[in-house]
C-alpha cells in the first residue's frame, strides 16, 4: 500500500487564520501523514470533530479495502437501517455537535427531529432501559453487550433515520461511521457475535475520542438519543484547551492496547 497523506480542516478559514499541524499514524504497519488545519484559539472537543471524522473515514476505507482484498463485500447500503436501532454511544462533544446541527435546521424539520428525540427517550423510559443505561454509564467496567441487545430489541430507531437511511450522513457519529458488516444484511435484524462479521478496522477513532473527551469533560459516554437532553442540561463548556493539545490527547489514545489480540493465544 502506498504512503498516504490526509489533509483535513477544522474551522472556518474566513474567521481565523488556521494553524497547521501534522501527525503520522502507523496503521497496520503503513504510515499515513495527517496534515491538519485547526483554529489557533482555545476550543472544545466538538471543534476538532471534522479532523476525527476525516481520520475515521480514512481508517474505514482502509478496512474496506482489506476486506475486499480478502474477497468480502460490505453489505451495508442506504435503505438498510437495522443498525440504526442499536444503542449508539457518543461523547459529549458529539452530543454538542448534533445539537448544533439540529439547531441550524429549518424550523419544521428541527421540530420534527426534536419530537423524535423526545419519543425515543420516552420509549426507553417506558421499558425501564434509561435506568440501566444510566447505571452502565457510571460503571464502564461492566459489559455493555447485554444492554446493547436489550436496547436493540426495543426497536427504538435513531431520530435521524429516515426511509431506513441516515439523514445526517456527513455528520453522523464516529461509531456509526465505523460500523460496517460483510455478513448478510438480513443477519443485522437479529445480531449475534456469531452471525455478524464486521469490517476489521486498523484503528478505533470513536473510542479514542470517547476516552479523551470523557476524561476531559468528566462526562461518560451517552446514547445518541440523550444528546439533546444533555445539551439542555449543560448548554456550554468553557473551552480550556488548544486544538493541538486536544488532538495530541486523542491520537495518543489510538495506542491503547485494549483492542489488540490481548488474551488471544495461538
Amino acid at each position: 500500500m502506498s504512503e498516504a497523506t490526509l489533509q483535513l480542516v477544522a474551522g472556518d478559514p474566513a474567521r481565523h487564520a488556521l494553524v497547521v499541524g501534522r501527525v503520522v499514524l502507523v496503521l497496520g504497519g503503513e504510515p499515513v501523514t495527517v496534515e491538519m488545519a485547526v483554529p489557533p484559539d482555545l476550543v472544545g472537543f466538538e471543534d476538532i470533530l471534522p479532523i476525527l471524522r476525516g481520520v475515521t473515514d480514512f481508517v474505514v476505507d482502509r478496512g474496506v479495502e482489506e476486506a475486499q482484498a480478502a474477497g468480502r463485500t460490505v453489505s451495508c447500503r442506504a435503505g438498510c437501517g437495522a443498525c440504526c436501532r442499536q444503542l449508539v454511544p457518543i461523547s459529549q462533544a458529539e452530543a454538542r455537535a448534533l445539537a448544533a446541527l439540529i439547531a441550524a435546521m429549518p424550523k419544521p424539520r428541527r421540530d420534527e427531529i426534536r419530537r423524535r428525540f423526545d419519543a425515543a427517550l420516552q420509549a426507553l423510559q417506558a421499558c425501564g432501559l434509561t435506568a440501566e443505561i444510566d447505571a452502565a454509564r457510571q460503571d464502564v467496567s461492566e459489559s455493555t453487550v447485554d444492554l446493547g441487545m436489550r436496547y436493540f430489541r426495543q426497536g427504538v430507531a435513531c431520530p435521524f433515520l429516515e426511509d431506513e437511511a441516515c439523514s445526517i450522513h456527513p455528520d453522523r457519529p464516529l461509531s456509526c461511521r465505523q460500523y460496517l458488516v460483510t455478513s448478510p444484511a438480513a443477519n443485522c435484524a437479529s445480531p449475534t457475535a456469531n452471525t455478524i462479521e464486521m469490517v476489521a478496522l486498523p484503528a478505533r477513532p470513536s473510542r479514542a475520542l470517547l476516552l479523551a473527551d470523557s476524561e476531559d469533560a468528566g462526562v461518560s459516554w451517552m446514547p445518541l438519543v440523550y444528546a439533546l437532553r444533555y445539551v439542555e442540561q449543560v448548554p456550554s463548556r468553557v473551552p480550556a484547551r488548544t486544538a493541538p493539545d486536544i488532538l495530541r490527547d486523542v491520537f495518543s489514545r489510538f495506542q491503547s492496547a485494549d483492542h489488540t489480540d490481548r488474551g488471544r493465544s495461538e
Binding site: 489533509q7 483535513l8 480542516v9 478559514p13 494553524v19 497547521v20 499541524g21 501534522r22 501527525v23 503520522v24 502507523v26 496503521l27 497496520g28 471524522r53 476525516g54 478496512g63 443498525c83 442499536q86 444503542l87 449508539v88 454511544p89 464502564v140 467496567s141 461492566e142 459489559s143 455493555t144 453487550v145 446493547g148 461509531s175 457475535a193 456469531n194 462479521e197 464486521m198 469490517v199 476489521a200 478496522l201 486498523p202 484503528a203 478505533r204 473510542r207 470517547l210 476516552l211 470523557s214 476524561e215 468528566g218 462526562v219 461518560s220 459516554w221 493541538p244 491520537f251 495518543s252 495506542q255 492496547a257 485494549d258 483492542h259 489488540t260 489480540d261 488474551g263 488471544r264 493465544s265
Partner: protein
Amino acid sequence: MRKELGLIVMGAVAFDLGTVVVPAQAADAIFLKIDGLSGESNYHKFNPSDAKAANSCVAGKGTLVEYKGDKYCRTDKAGASTALPSSAGPATALPQTQRR
C-alpha cells in the same frame, strides 16, 4: 470533509504530534455499535476439540464466539473467565469519569 489545505493556509507546520503507532485491532468480533465502547472484551482462542476449555469459558461467564472458523472465548470483564490469562486487566478501561 477532505479539503485541500493548500487553498487555506500554508507556511510552517505549527505543531507536530510525531508518530503514533497503532497496534493491531481485533474489531472483527464486535457485533454491536456499543460493543466497541468499553474495550473490556478479551478474546482467547481455543482448540474446538478442547471441551474443557469451552466449559471453563462458559463457567467463567465467557461467551463462545466463532470467527472465521476459529473458536474464541470472549469475556467482557477482565478475569470473568478462567479461560483467560490472569494478565488481562482493565488497564485502559474508560475512565470512571463521574469520580473526577
